[in-house]
């Protein structure tokens, strides 16, 4: 790598594709961290992992059918969330087992489909690890629209999701149907995962959901501080990760995740060795 000066860094940061990356990365970082609070509360990390990995199959199908992957993935992720919810409710197996079965089956189908797709397909090679620098105008529009929709959703239903988590199975006594709200959360999560896959990749997208909230959980003592710090970690992780990627010429998605992971281990150290919490 050649000498990096401040002016060359500023020049790089001013490039349109980098600005797009900052916009999308910050929005996705913030909303994933916010949703991540509910993933942590409802123990939905495995569900998120399953939907994100299934997106590889979604991409393969979209290429096979010549659909736009970004749009197709949204429908495919929601479809997968529906399949998991339906099978979980009608099966005697535990929810984890059902997710594991559907997860494996979907990936297996994806691998079979990939074996039919000859030659190197750029879309296909981008999705496992993401490529935020290659996002298009359409991706930004989808990202902003989903960000706004999810913010509105969480402002309306966020409190109810906390109640269903706190009261668990007896929230029905207050007229709240936990399965209904769990399903709604699964749909919202699958939409956000579908968009985030393009940024950090199918393999790493769950990290955006679970690391900021768990890092915040390490050092906070109230729900308000937990929520605020989680969102701050999500935004900061995206900004620092993209910055590190531009300056050091590293893959962007993994850089974002590495920064987030640092937040987690630093806060864990603060809690365990310095007994720090606030």
């Amino acid at each position: 790598m050649g000498a990096v000066t401040i002016s060359s860094i500023l020049e790089m940061l001013a490039m349109p594709f980098v600005i797009k990356a900052f916009i999308c990365g910050t929005l996705i970082g913030a909303i994933c961290a916010w949703l991540g609070i509910f993933v942590t509360l409802n123990k939905m990390a495995f569900f998120s992992e399953s939907i994100s990995h299934a997106s590889i199959t979604g991409i393969a199908i979209s290429i096979w059918l010549s659909f736009d992957p970004s749009i197709f993935l949204i429908f495919f992720s929601v479809f997968m969330a529906g399949v998991i919810a339906f099978v979980s409710q009608s099966s005697f197996s535990s929810k984890d087992s059902v997710i594991g079965i559907i997860h494996s089956a979907t990936i297996a189908i994806g691998i079979i489909l990939l074996s039919f797709l000859k030659g190197g397909n750029t879309d296909l090679s981008r999705y496992p690890f993401g490529d935020i620098m290659a996002i298009r105008q359409l991706d930004i529009i989808i990202c902003v629209a989903l960000f706004i929709a999810t913010v509105i959703y969480l402002l309306i239903f966020g409190k109810t999701h906390v109640i269903t988590c706190l009261l668990s199975d007896f929230s029905v006594l207050e007229g709240i149907s936990t399965p209904k709200y769990d399903f709604m959360l699964m749909i919202v999560l699958s939409l956000i995962i579908a968009v985030s896959v393009k940024i950090v990749g199918a393999i790493l997208v769950t990290a955006l959901l679970i690391i900021p909230s768990n890092a915040a959980k390490n050092i906070t003592t109230s729900f308000k501080k937990f929520s605020m710090l989680s969102i701050k970690f999500g935004i900061l992780g995206a900004v620092l990760g993209i910055f590190m990627s531009v300056v050091l010429d590293l893959p962007t998605g993994p850089s974002i995740i590495v920064v987030n992971a640092l937040f987690y281990f630093i806060t864990l150290g603060l809690r365990n060795y310095l007994s720090f919490s606030f």
């Binding site: 509360l41 409190k159 906390v162 109640i163 706190l166 009261l167 668990s168 199975d169 007896f170 029905v172 006594l173 207050e174 007229g175 915040a216 959980k217 906070t220 003592t221 109230s222 729900f223 308000k224 501080k225 937990f226």
Partner: protein, 245 residues
């Protein structure tokens, strides 16, 4: 029975899990405002019965009526029923204070009343503490407070003193008695601590898959009905030592 008497009616309730019969043809009435103990040996179906009465489980046969309304209807629109489960499944690592727990789960209309409620339940000084740091007894009292803030008319408690010490147990029973007598709430409690529970309640329902007997504590004790109920485990229960073992 007078015409104005308000009743909780349990009519011919049976419940099967697969082919296994858990409850068989249970029928009784409870007056609103009673303090009721539901007792019986392990596996008698006590927890199952209160879950059916709460509408959390669907019975195989029979019906439950709260002044003519099913639990489902009551839960949808009236929110009369409160519940303190035996094991409150809260993630103890979750950073949420006791105060936040109430603010999320209850509509607090007047701060002064809310604070008075917490003081009555000896929880006020714990407001800013994380829920995960509270003891079993404090969690049980928090759940009782939750039901009182919601103004639930009928409160079901499933072995609320099973995980707490004698001091905590005495506090819980005096609170329940106060809630029943002063606030007029119907309290229905499952307990294995026969001695303590019989000193406090006004009605006892003895259950062992079927309804064994029902009456006031004096009738149940003097008639030797408790000994019949716990025939196979008499020594174990006679001294009310189940929860201390």
């Amino acid at each position: 029975m007078s015409e104005t008497q308000r009743l909780i009616q349990v009519k011919n309730i049976s419940f099967k899990s697969g082919k296994v019969s858990i409850l068989e043809n249970i029928t009784f009435n409870i007056n609103y405002g009673s303090f009721v103990a539901l007792i019986g040996p392990n596996g008698a179906g006590k927890s199952t019965l209160i879950k059916i009465m709460l509408g959390l489980l669907k019975q195989t046969e029979g019906e439950i009526l709260y002044e003519g309304l099913t639990p489902e209807t009551v839960n949808r629109s009236h929110h009369l029923l409160g519940y303190v489960p035996q094991n409150f499944s809260l993630d103890r690592t979750l950073p949420i204070t006791l105060d936040e727990f109430f603010r999320f789960t209850c509509k607090i209309k007047k701060e002064e009343e809310f604070d008075a409620m917490l003081k009555m339940l000896n929880l006020f000084h714990l407001k800013k503490n994380m829920m995960g740091n509270l003891s079993g007894g404090e969690i049980q009292r928090a759940l009782i407070a939750y039901n009182l803030i919601h103004n639930h008319e009928i409160i079901f408690l499933d072995e609320p003193t099973s995980a707490i010490d004698i001091e905590g147990e005495t506090l819980i029973y005096s609170l329940l008695k106060d809630i029943n007598e002063r606030l007029g709430k119907t309290v229905i409690i499952i307990s294995h601590d026969i001695d303590t529970v019989l000193k406090n309640v006004d009605t006892v329902i003895c259950l062992n898959k079927t309804l064994h007997c029902m009456g006031c504590p004096h009738e149940i004790i003097s008639g030797g009905l408790i000994n019949e109920l716990f025939e196979s485990k008499r020594g174990f229960y006679k001294h009310g030592s189940c929860h201390h073992k």
